[in-house]
Amino acid sequence: MVEFLDKKTIRMDKVLNKLDKLVLDFTSILKKYSDYVIVSGYVSILFGRSRATEDIDLLVPKMEKDVFFKLLKDLNKKFECLNSSNPESLYEDYLCNKTAIRFSYKNKPIPNIKFKFAQTQVDYESLKQKICVRIGVKELFVSSIELQIAFKEQVLGSDKDIEDAEHLKTVFEKNLNILKLKEYERLLRK
């Protein structure tokens, strides 16, 4: 029973699972350094979909190298990067090369956070139209529901994605902006 406080804020009172805890833990550090948005499968899971996932997709606007190094140092207190321990390589060879890097709790590779710089128009739209989800005193930012549905149906299209989209459509039946959804569907079909 998700509750909209306004068009861009949702309040939930859910019992946190391991994925929720990982996301809230990670973003509590990330938010000190950067804007971010969570996209794809975890958005459906946050709102109740009955499945797990091994990774959570997270987008950030491209950040300066020194900011990334500070973020990495802070994250390393609790998390480890699964790709490399070399900050320079993570920034230059991966992130600036349009490749995601993954973070997990130390010595626990799954589940993990797939961290990537925004690159495409859809990525920037996700950041621009993000919504805030409040769970108790904590909060996190996820992609707009309409964009998630359209992207999963029009671009990804696997059985799992269609089911994720169907879940969101049913849960948010009374709150969806149908015009916005149609517009995203039109843009993504191109």
Binding site: M1, V2, M12, D13, K14, V15, L16, N17, K18, L19, I45, F47, G48, R49, S50, R51, A52, I110, P111, D159, I162, E163, E166, H167, L168, K169, T170, V171, E173
Partner: protein
Amino acid sequence: MSEWFDNEKNRQERLRFVRFWAKYVREHPDKEWSKQQKDLIDSQF
């Protein structure tokens, strides 16, 4: 349709359950559905 497995029927049945569960989520208190979701997700890690 394969002689061994009807993929389309399976897909439709799965979608029916997805809608059933999503409606449950929509109509029940967060604590109620999320406890069940937590049991399912946490058991996999």
